[in-house]
Symmetry: C2
Subunit: 221 residues, 2 copies
């Protein structure tokens, strides 16, 4: 069976978990406190971060490379369209969330509020939290703009782009940092993706010291 070294609220790990679940690939989860730099873990991934996936006899790192590998070796159901221009758009949006959104929002809210406490590296920087809370509004508006003429973020089918976005938003929703009333289109999109069977394990996550709000696992949030 595949094995995923992860931390529950990491959006990069969640993206891989969603892809595996959607493809119905069974996986054993192992929580990895990667910041403690256990030598065994460093041997598995010299980049010293999660996710790390053991599958098909190999040990893999880098969530984007892992997701493309899963898609190529397990094409059903497809999470990347066929045409190059449609594939480009999916990858652009994955990059948007894993780079820009991660830098402007996730790292400023989730990492300040949760990671610093869990890793014992200090207290939340209120300037960062403020900047993240401001930036997420712009990103929700951008998503609404995309969803205004598309059923899913990258087009009319659900793709890796939706999982990348949902991975970040679900982690932020766990700490009540998403204002679902800001954009109805985004709320409708999240309700759709949240109700998929692939999402169940993520909605059951519990991080000691950080109980999720009641609406987190509620499909009628």
């Amino acid at each position: 069976m595949a094995k995923l070294y992860h931390v529950p609220l990491s959006p990069f790990c969640r993206k891989v978990r969603l892809v595996l679940a959607e493809k119905k690939i069974e996986v054993e989860l192992a929580e990895e406190r990667y910041w403690e730099q256990d030598p065994d873990f460093l041997r598995r991934n010299p980049a010293a971060k999660v996710p790390v996936l053991k599958m098909d006899g190999r040990t893999m790192a880098e969530s984007a490379a892992i997701c493309e590998y899963i898609e190529e070796t397990n094409p059903e159901p497809p999470l990347l369209p066929r045409k190059p221009e449609a594939r480009y758009e999916v990858r652009r949006i994955v990059g948007w969330f894993d780079d820009k959104f991660h830098h402007e929002v996730t790292s400023k809210l989730l990492y300040e509020r949760v990671n610093k406490k869990v890793m014992k590296t200090g207290f939340p920087d209120s300037g960062n939290v403020k900047a993240g809370a401001k930036a997420i509004k712009y990103h929700l508006d951008y998503m609404a703009w995309l969803l205004d003429h598309r059923r899913w973020l990258a087009g009319d089918t659900m793709t890796l782009a939706d999982f990348a976005a949902a991975a970040h938003l679900s982690s932020l929703d766990y700490i009540s940092d998403v204002d679902w009333n800001r954009q109805e289109a985004v709320k409708d999109w999240y309700a759709k993706i949240k109700s998929r069977p692939a999402f169940r394990a993520i909605l059951a996550d519990q991080v000691p010291g950080f109980p999720p709000p009641a609406h987190y696992a509620d499909l009628d949030f």
Copy 2:
């Protein structure tokens, strides 16, 4: 003709330039001072960064998505191997450089020394410069370890992984931040890739106020 909005020392722009040149796709270059947030440019790319490529009637952003698009629409010569496990390894290494190396080295050396001056956002932070100078050693050693049992970084053929790495290293070499004497295998690898026709335009780059060292464009460095 394709048109690329770029800045000369951006490793992400250089990676795209190298891929276009290797595929013999002609491109017009337009320097874009993206930090000035020109409204016309923001319309082209709401993420407000370079590279932005106009090609085949569309406007594209995010270097990883752009490179995959070019590879899919212009497969010759191939810069991604065929087998999923080999493609995974290429993408893992691209991610290593564009994420980890970028964060630990490029942003701490190039952005401190050059971008801050060009964008008029302050002076180099000596703590960052020191951290970057220390981190690059580890990365050069990691490259040497990879090259110990491979001809190129991701295997026995030249791929996107080599261009991603060469894009970062060439930008750092422009400001004399690469110690080519540290690892002979890395120097040999760079000499091979530097002598490709695709590299010529990059070796001719000039940034006002930052003259490159004599060895920068020298194939016998």
